[in-house]
């Protein structure tokens, strides 16, 4: 483990109903990396992601963030530094879009309401939506619009770590390209560490500084996109990059 490591997972195991979901998983992620995660549906990607912000706890194994075991950390403080864009969409149904996006800043009790407002306006544009929807409620948005609000909400925390679970799954290709560009820009500008689950291998290879390929609860390959492309670890990866 180098000094640069921001997230480390050691010997993680997780079982549901006697079925092993995650089997002895080990993972090291460095500060400022952009990790894309790809793998078959139901292989355990979301499970691993949720472990990082403590929404899910492994049956066995340890997780360290910035070298501290998260068991011993103030999980609330930790989570506020971790942006989380949830698979599917779980916007807060009783809040307007504006309230949804400013949820974390309001949690931290930023006194400067104007600033929060300004940053919300900025974020809504970052995800390609119009300011006019800020006063609407989630159910009044289309699926893709909701998903993008979820991304904006995750970004609003100005987090050190950004967990994104299939964030662009419900948007069209054109918007997707814009969003990809935005996320790359954000990654560079803010030097945030990103873990990004996607089913689009092109997206994974394009965005990731390293790509994590999972299958059946295990890491099949974890390497730079070029390496993945050139030297797929096994048939599963080979079929993926085809």
């Amino acid at each position: 483990m180098s000094d640069n490591t921001i997230i480390e997972m050691r010997n993680i195991n997780k079982t549901y109903d006697n079925k092993v979901i995650i089997n002895d998983l080990n993972l090291n992620i460095n500060k400022g990396e952009f990790i894309t995660v790809i793998g078959s549906s139901g292989c355990g990607k979301t499970t691993v992601l949720k472990m990082i912000n403590g929404l899910n706890t492994p049956d066995r194994g340890e997780i360290f963030i910035n070298g501290e075991n998260i068991k011993n950390e103030n999980i609330i403080e930790l989570r506020r530094k971790i942006g989380y864009s949830i698979q599917g969409t779980s916007l807060f149904p009783h809040m307007t879009i504006e309230k949804n996006i400013s949820y974390v800043p309001n949690l931290i009790n930023k006194k400067d309401k104007d600033e929060v407002k300004k940053s919300v306006s900025k974020l809504i544009k970052v995800v390609g939506l119009e300011e006019s929807i800020l006063n609407r409620y989630p159910e009044q948005l289309s699926g893709g619009q909701q998903q993008r609000v979820g991304i904006a909400r995750a970004l609003a925390a100005q987090p050190d770590i950004l967990l994104m679970d299939e964030p662009f799954g419900a948007v069209d290709e054109i918007t997707r390209k814009q969003l990809q560009d935005e996320i790359v820009r954000i990654h560079k500008e803010l030097e945030v560490t990103i873990i990004f689950i996607t089913h689009d291998i092109k997206e994974a290879l394009k965005l990731g500084t390293r790509v994590l390929v999972m299958d059946k609860g295990e890491i099949v390959q974890f390497n730079k996109p070029e390496v993945i492309k050139k030297h797929p670890a096994n048939d599963f990866v080979r079929e993926l990059v085809l």
């Binding site: 609330i76 506020r80 149904p93 974390v104």
Partner: protein, 514 residues
Amino acid sequence: MISQILNIYIDRRDFFIDLTIQHLEISMTAIIIAAVLGLILGVIISEYEKSSSFVLGVVNFIYTIPSISLLGILIPFSGIGNSTAIIALTIYGLLPIVRSTYTGIKNINPIIIEAAEGMGSTRFQILYKIKLPLAVPVIMSGLRNMVVMTIALAGIASFIGAGGLGVAIYRGITTNNEAMTMAGSILIAVVALIFDTILGIIEKSLDKKGNKKYKVKRKIIYTISSILILAIMITSVLNIKSEKNTIKIATKPMTEQYIIGEMMSSLIENKTDLNVELTQGFGGGTSNIQPAMEKEEFDIYPEYTGTAWNNVLKKKGIYNESMFLQLQDAYNKDYKFKWIGMYGFNNTYGLAIRKEIADKYNIKTYSDLAKYSNNLVFGAEYDFYEREDGFNDLSKAYGLKFKKNVELDIGLKYKAIKNKDIDVMNIFTTDGQLNTSNIVVLKDDKNFYPSYMCGNVVRKEIIENHPEIKEVLLELNNKIDNKEMSKLNYEVEVEGKEPKVVANEFLTERGLLK
């Protein structure tokens, strides 16, 4: 029927307005407290799941206590009147609100809560930013039930002198005045429906989809309800304020106390600038008035020395008037109460005999009676034979041995002696019926019975703040002997006059009032 009810409303408008305001005060206060408390409890048990079955069990349990019992349990702690009524209503109100809060929170989609957790919300933030707003519909449903229930139940306030529309209902029931009962019930229903409607509008305006139309309505409703709540609070405060110059007098549920109470009240209001709030016939007598005096809910009440000695000071032994100084000292020390103004009558137990027989054998005292008792029939109510200091001890003390001992209903004793069914009977020395009956009260020459001289117990503070009261109370000092009291009682009990009338006639007659 409808026209009867309408007439009642018109004729007794002020009565109903007062009752309605009282009803509102009591039920609104209880509703607000129960809502807050219930919400807190509901939140606690939803957060600390383990406590839920215990708390819900307790809330269920207290809900099942019959209202009469609950009031009985509460009176020793919170006295009578509004506070007890409010506490009881609050306790009953908890069940719906606690459970609906709990259910509302537990029923929220866990995915949404997980999202909030993942965002680093503290437990409290999740609670008030996510859980409570999303639980609103279910909580409101419980709240609305609770409001209707509390307003309906607030009728019980009338049992303990806290007023409210229950007064009309139960007065109607006891006097068989159906229109009165209906008039009270209808007002309760109307109040309940109004509040439910207001809550319904508030609920709609809390709805997230709240569009502009509702936002306006919401403002109106908030304003109205704030004004209402404020108004109620101000009235309560004013009530308290207006009490500053009000002397609160209580009396026990006995005819003579009603009369004395009216006398005091008339005198004070006539001779000072003070107002009097007279609570006549306070349920439970000494055992409820004494604690209320200690709580400063009452300022003055007429008490009997013997009762004070045994029941208030809890001393053993038989009281006689040579111990009056001791009694006063103890009151001064233990309670900061003074005895001011002894009326002059002694309402103690006694024996009365048919005049005929008294004259025949020249019987004047209990000892005289003992000599002839084996020729005479004695009558008393069941209790008297059973009581420890009753018949047996008395018989022993004087060596009484009657030809026959008859058990009689207390209401029929005087009838029986007049019918010559009995010759001797136990009495109270100020009984109104003594006045006309052809009977003689005997002298307790061995002082078997304690002395029960009547006088006013007054809170010292009142005398300090209003020294003029002392003078007024002393005006009645030694003005009423047993005969006089018995006569006044007779006027009320047998002639059916109002205690107030009797009191004022007496005062005027004696030149104490013009």
